[in-house]
């Protein structure tokens, strides 16, 4: 039985591991928080505004999203650390898979201690300012923190647990308390069907490969990045002007912003992917190295997605909910762009089909915000499509549009 003495001992062990990892992150987060607050014109007022935003009815989405970001990022950072050895020497001890997993869940929850402490401080501040601390917000926060821990859980059925945890977290952050309440059984199902713990390797190698790919892309893009950002800012500005000069309210206003933000992201991706497709053509020799086609596609998509993130962040300053919906399109657009980069040179339309797909998606989320979730759900299919395009690519075939007629394969014409 899990709740017997040995089960509790295991829980205590994992709790101690989680606490140690939490302490490592605490100092950094505490300093970052203090620095951010002290840089404000009115530090005390800022803390009070955040606290009152969190404990108002309904709570501020911006504050909840901020907490959600920490609730998901902290366990993701900690998972490889707290799971070290779980599948090694410890496996010879008389422990069940379930016991191991629940212990890990506890440790990932404890890792979020700095967030819990911040929430407690905000609660005290809000109470001092006369805010009523309703039960609903506590439920939302509990679901958010649990979803964050589940999302980072390194288990066999992670393909099932991760999307459910992300949806639960999103429901708790953006929805009301009934949405959070509905998420609870979903998290319980995650716990039941998660399967045994798998060892997570720290992603040093992956990071190294990505930084290599990112460095190459960065140098290949060069000053074109500035042009791409300037062009991408135009739809954002246009949507802001459109809203300012028309009497739009509620959903109409959000729809206009969603269209502007997602078109901006699309423009950026089109310019960057075209520049990369031409200036950094596929690298044949690298395909003989021991990395996978999926990794190469993912690297390109990450380069595009990371460049699109500042646009989404700029949008969040103006209209957080519209920016969230537009940001949900980023993975899909980045993966589709990675696929089109591989086939564009063989197609007469070049990136035209990608532009058409992007405009359609942007129009759709502008009219129906919930379709952003469909965009997220379509990302895995887009990944497999891009991977297949990478495999199919005849990388050493001579193409006039890439190689300079002089014959040097390291020099190309635009």
């Amino acid at each position: 039985m899990f709740w017997d003495a040995s089960g509790l001992t295991l829980l205590r062990f994992h709790a101690a591991v989680g606490a140690r990892v939490a302490l490592r992150s605490f100092a950094v987060l505490f300093c970052a928080f203090i620095a951010a607050i002290m840089l404000q014109v009115d530090p005390a007022g800022t803390v009070a505004a955040i606290a009152l935003g969190l404990f108002s009815d309904p709570p501020s989405s911006a504050v909840l999203l901020m907490i959600a970001a920490l609730a998901f990022l902290l366990p993701a950072w900690a998972a490889p650390r707290v799971s070290l050895g779980v599948n090694g020497w410890m496996r010879h001890l008389p422990l069940s898979d379930g016991g191991n997993r629940r212990g890990l869940e506890l440790s990932l929850l404890i890792v979020q201690f700095p967030v819990v402490l911040a929430i407690a401080i905000f609660a005290l501040v809000a109470r001092n300012h006369g805010a009523a601390l309703g039960k609903a917000i506590w439920l939302q926060l509990a679901v958010l923190l649990s979803a964050g821990a589940f999302a980072a859980l390194p288990v066999r059925r992670r393909w099932l647990v991760l999307p459910i945890a992300l949806l639960c977290g999103l429901a708790a952050a953006l929805g009301s308390w009934p949405a959070a309440l509905v998420s609870l059984p979903a998290l319980v199902l995650c716990e039941i069907f998660a399967g045994p713990v798998r060892t997570v390797r720290r992603r040093r190698r992956a990071r190294m490969f990505f930084s290599f790919s990112f460095g190459i892309a960065w140098r290949a893009l060069g000053w074109r990045l500035f042009g791409a950002y300037a062009a991408a800012a135009l739809p954002l500005l246009a949507s802001d002007l459109f809203v300012a000069n028309n009497d739009l309210r509620g959903d109409l206003e959000a729809g206009a912003y969603r269209l502007g933000f997602s078109i901006g992201i699309l423009v950026l991706m089109v310019i960057l992917s075209r520049a990369l497709a031409v200036r950094r053509p596929p690298w044949p020799w690298a395909r003989s190295l021991p990395w996978s086609s999926g990794r190469r596609v993912l690297d390109d998509a990450l380069v595009l997605a990371l460049h699109a993130a500042p646009l989404a962040a700029a949008g969040a300053v103006v209209h957080p909910e519209a920016a969230m919906a537009a940001a949900a399109l980023i993975p899909l657009l980045a993966l589709r762009a990675a696929a089109f980069m591989r086939s564009a040179r063989e197609k007469r339309a070049g990136l035209g089909s990608f532009v058409a797909e992007g405009v359609f998606s942007a129009g759709l989320i502008s009219l129906l915000a919930w379709t952003a979730v469909l965009g997220l759900a379509a990302a895995p299919a887009a990944f497999y499509g891009a991977r297949s395009a990478e495999c199919r690519l005849k990388v050493t075939r001579w193409l006039e549009s890439h190689h300079l007629a002089a014959g040097d394969t390291l020099t190309w014409s635009e």
Binding site: F209, F212, R280, P284, P290, W291, S293
Partner: protein
């Protein structure tokens, strides 16, 4: 062992470069021969995992190159005829990447660069190097770790005499530790003494010659004949 099972490949529709090649190449030195445009380099690209067959399976030591991508490529060192390293990274960056991918210590990148005579050029982009230096850079990448499958396309081309000697010594050492070496070349003499078999290509057909004559002159004569093209009635694989 390299295994190809009914491999078809073409760059343009209707113009097959490899048409239904099935063969098994065991450890040892295999010379890949044939006239210009016969499909030697394309064959090497297929077994190096650079190009994917339109049809059929290419595998190394039982790992399909396009299903178990990382495992199959773990032991490959490929030296292409065109040294196509990215121009946006320095030579040292590329070698460090190879070290990590082959799980070799990063210090071996510096050692390989020194050995290739590019010790002072590690922070240069490939665009700043001559053709010979570019080829040395790709060779340096091949020297990292202890790859078990060497795929070399005209390895002696554009190399000075000292480097030629170094490459031949490296190939001999690799053969001594039971590596599989595939060399596409028109420069036969340096490899004739160590060659275990020959694989000839022409017009999408291939012929694997497992037993080479023991007499050096007869051996060279046979290989030279194959490098001029397959006899019209040669059995194909």
């Amino acid at each position: 062992m390299i295994r190809l099972d009914d491999v078809h490949f073409c760059y343009r529709q209707g113009e097959p470069v490899l048409a239904g090649i099935s063969l098994e190449i065991p450890r040892g030195l295999t010379l890949v021969l044939g006239p210009n445009g016969a499909g030697k380099s394309t064959f090497l690209k297929i077994v190096a995992g650079v190009e994917r067959p339109d049809r059929g399976i290419a595998s190394i030591d039982g790992c399909d190159l396009w299903r178990e991508e990382v495992a199959a490529r773990q032991s490959i060192a490929y030296v292409p005829e065109q040294p196509d390293l990215t121009p946006y990274a320095t030579i040292m960056d590329v070698l460090k990447l190879v070290c990590r991918l082959r799980r070799a210590p990063v210090s071996s990148a510096r050692a390989a660069l020194e050995r290739a005579g590019l010790g002072q050029l590690g922070n240069r982009s490939i665009r700043e190097l001559s053709l010979g230096q570019r080829r040395r850079a790709v060779l340096a990448a091949a020297w990292i770790g202890l790859p078990k499958v060497l795929i070399l396309d005209e390895p002696l081309e554009a190399m000075d005499r000292a480097m030629r000697g170094q490459i031949i010594t490296w190939i001999e050492r690799s053969l001594a530790r039971d590596a599989l070496v595939l060399i596409a070349t028109h420069d036969l003499e340096p490899f004739v003494p160590n060659a275990d078999r020959a694989l000839a290509f022409q017009n999408g057909r291939s012929l694997l010659l497992d037993a080479l004559p023991a007499d050096p002159a007869a051996r060279l004569g046979r290989l030279e004949a194959l490098s001029r093209g397959l006899p019209a009635a040669a059995p194909t694989l």
